[in-house]
């Protein structure tokens, strides 16, 4: 049976060999195996090569501004919790331009999945440093090599007591699929940072480099242990993959209390003229 998210023969703007291809394929399989209805799925992205992903699978999508995927994703879920919402973009989009939203989205904890293609370089603008580029990485702008500390999204997310924090690697589709499944099923904000080689602009962090520098967390890691999760997230010699931290809590939509007495999404609701009239009436100040 054909995958329900398959678009058929379409023109894809990525370079041959790009790490985005296995992520796209894995995502489509994950969604199909979770039996998600494409008509109930909204993909939200910003700008960049990774941010084009919603165009390449069957779904509703909101391809917004650079760095601004998380605010609309939060709002879409908040006004219609029946939808499955995935915010997916690259490291520059989510951690650079959208860094403030990344922080506060974690605090807000909407029930969305945040997938970040982390290739440690800017692709669409042709090879400048990204927030996750390693120190010393040379680019046409960072001519003497990157001098900033790389941004550590997992450590930041765990520090903010995020609901779900994981890292995967594009090259390992089977494990990535399992991590994505857990993330999408998880209620609350779920971060999946996916290591991904950029075959055109990042000659340092290649498929082989990732293979040599990662390992999977095993059963000895307790994902409910925040301190342990933080320690693992700050490892730098070899980079762990897997689910670092799981912290079940109420979602933003639940906390707004908008759905306690009325399950309907906002678009199905009408102005309550009676309630409005009685609110207006309070301004007679009759006490």
């Amino acid at each position: 049976m054909m995958n329900a998210f398959e678009m058929g023969d379409i023109d894809i703007a990525w370079c041959p060999g790009c790490g985005n291809f296995p992520i796209l394929k894995t995502l489509k399989e994950t969604l199909a195996e979770l039996q998600i209805d494409p008509k109930q799925l909204v993909m939200v992205s910003g700008i960049g090569q990774a941010a084009k992903i919603p165009h390449y699978l069957k779904c509703h999508f909101f391809n917004g501004l650079h760095g601004r995927a998380l605010p609309p994703a939060t709002a879409i879920k908040a006004v219609n919790p029946r939808l499955t919402v995935i915010a997916e973009s690259g490291d520059g989009d989510m951690y650079g331009e959208g860094g403030n939203h990344f922080i506060h989205c974690i605090r807000r904890n909407p029930d969305i999945t945040n997938i970040v293609h982390d290739n440690m370089v800017y692709g669409l603008t042709k090879g400048q440093a990204s927030p996750t580029s390693r120190r010393g990485f040379k680019t046409p702008v960072q001519v003497a090599g990157v001098i900033l500390e790389p941004f550590n999204p997992l450590a930041v997310a765990i520090a903010l007591d995020a609901s779900f924090v994981a890292r995967a690697s594009a090259g390992d589709r089977e494990q990535t699929k399992e991590i994505l499944k857990r993330a999408i099923r998880h209620k609350g904000y779920a971060l999946v940072d996916i290591f991904q080689p950029c075959v055109t602009f990042n000659k340092l962090n290649t498929y082989q480099w990732f293979k040599d520098h990662v390992y999977y967390l095993d059963d000895s890691h307790d994902p409910s242990d925040r301190t342990a999760a933080f320690a693992r997230a700050t490892e730098t010699d070899r980079l762990p993959l897997g689910v670092f931290y799981v912290n079940p809590k109420d979602s933003f939509e639940e906390n707004t209390q908008m759905y306690r007495r009325d399950e309907r999404p906002l678009h199905q609701r009408e102005v309550d003229a009676k309630k409005l009239a009685s609110l207006i009436d309070t301004f007679t100040m009759a006490g």
Binding site: K39, F61, G64, R68, P72, N100, H101, E270, L279, T284
Partner: protein, 577 residues
Amino acid sequence: MKDPRGTATRRDMSIVLCGQAGQGVQTVETLLTRILKTAGYHVHATKEYMSRVRGGANSTTIRVSGKRVSALVDRMDVLVPLNAGAVAHVAERLTPQTVVVGEREVVADEAIESNRTLAVPFTEIATEIGGKIYSNVVAVGAIAGLLGLDPDAVVAYVRRYFAKKSEDIVANNVKAVRAGYDAIGKLDMPAGLRLSFKPSAKVKDELLLSGAEAVGLGAIAGGCNFVSSYPMSPSTGVLTFLAQHGLEQGVLAEQAEDEIAAINMAIGASYAGARALVTTSGGGFALMTEGVSLAGMLECPVVIHLAQRPGPATGLPTRTEQADLELALYAGHGEFPRILFAPGTLEQAFDLTQKAFNLADKYQVPAFVLTDEYLMDSYYNVKGFDLSRTKTERHIVKTAKDYRRYELTKNGISPRGIPGYGSGLVAVDSDEHDEEGHITEDLDVRVAMVDKRLAKGEALRKDIVRPELIGPKDYKKLVICWGSTYHVVKEALAELGRTDTAMLHYSQVYPLHPSTADLIGKARKTVVVEGNATGQFRKLIRLHAGVDADEGLVKYDGLGFTVEDVVEGLTAIDKGR
């Protein structure tokens, strides 16, 4: 010193309260306006305040009358200074007729003639009752006594106002208001302070509210069910109002991490079918401009309440100005249609905010409600709001399998689907896109999409709000204004009593109503009154109606126009300056 008006012909009384931030000027204003209004008097109150939480000097001007009052005046019949610095703060407004009520040390000011002062020991009386905290309520009692209000009604209102507090506190407040009332009664009072005009039973049933509350109510009436904003004076009142009534009225109110998040949330909410609002000011709106452009490109309806304050940059955070018209008009890169309302009255604030939601939805464009600090912070009584027009006009369709979000149509409006309603997919993209919403670099499609978006700008001209002409139809002179200056200009013209002059008020400033060129062309002389330095609306008229006004009367000191400002300004223009 401003020109004083005699007390004998007094049609209304102007009472100015002045004190430090944190001293409770607001409490006195709130209590007094409500007491006056429930007693059947027409009231108007507006304040000017500093951008600080404690100290400084803030003042509120309350007008009370037997006839409708809705505009700010310079005139100060009664001054109630609550601290030593207060008299100096309003010294320019003092006249020999101003009566000053306050503590002995405070009213003993060289600027005030001793026969016009009434010394009341607010603090001493309050301390005897139970603490300094009651001194504001003592002041309320004193003012009520000065105006000759029914003491029992005053006490009854104070009792209701504090009803939720403990019995002790209610009792002390009642004692305080009575003590203030009695204290003033023992003094020799200058003549003419007791209210001579009759209260009206009808006023008792009217509404007393602020511009911020009128915009908030209008939003709810317009079907607003999502607001995301970042607090910024003077727009915060609308966010506060909607947050406080959100759960009961079905509005999801969220304080965003910044204005960029706020507008991107609103657009996301709108994409998923909500009726979304952002409320912001100055620099906060400047941060939203990329989002405004996104709303234009995605064709997502969104309402932007922009409460203006003086800029550039942080400017005067708590003051008023009408200088963001051009910003709102041009905000956002690229070309796309928009609607700009600028309500001048509380009724318009309600109606046009509601209308903004309906038209944003109908034409899938950003719609602005342009207010300012003066309108936000002005309170007065109005008859009520027309709820018969409270109709939420929705234009959402159930999608079919082959749904295309940007289907090309004759008037540019594509049927708007939302995710999860119907069998189609709803795809929107900030890149130029094809009819399905997918990225395209097909330049023919690009041209078709620009034409489609701009066609909506033509279509929405059907719904332009007509400017309001007040005065003789066969006018020779025309005074043009927009937004919050409505009542000030109206009262100034009434006071000037010219039979050859009419007022033309625009509550929709873009697109301009097509009658503009004719209405202005008919006049021999035209003046545009506006609260900015460069005459932004005058320029807009020149650009979009092809006619130029003869004169501009502008103000940009951070304070709202007063009736006297407009009277003097128009008189000077008439005399050829």
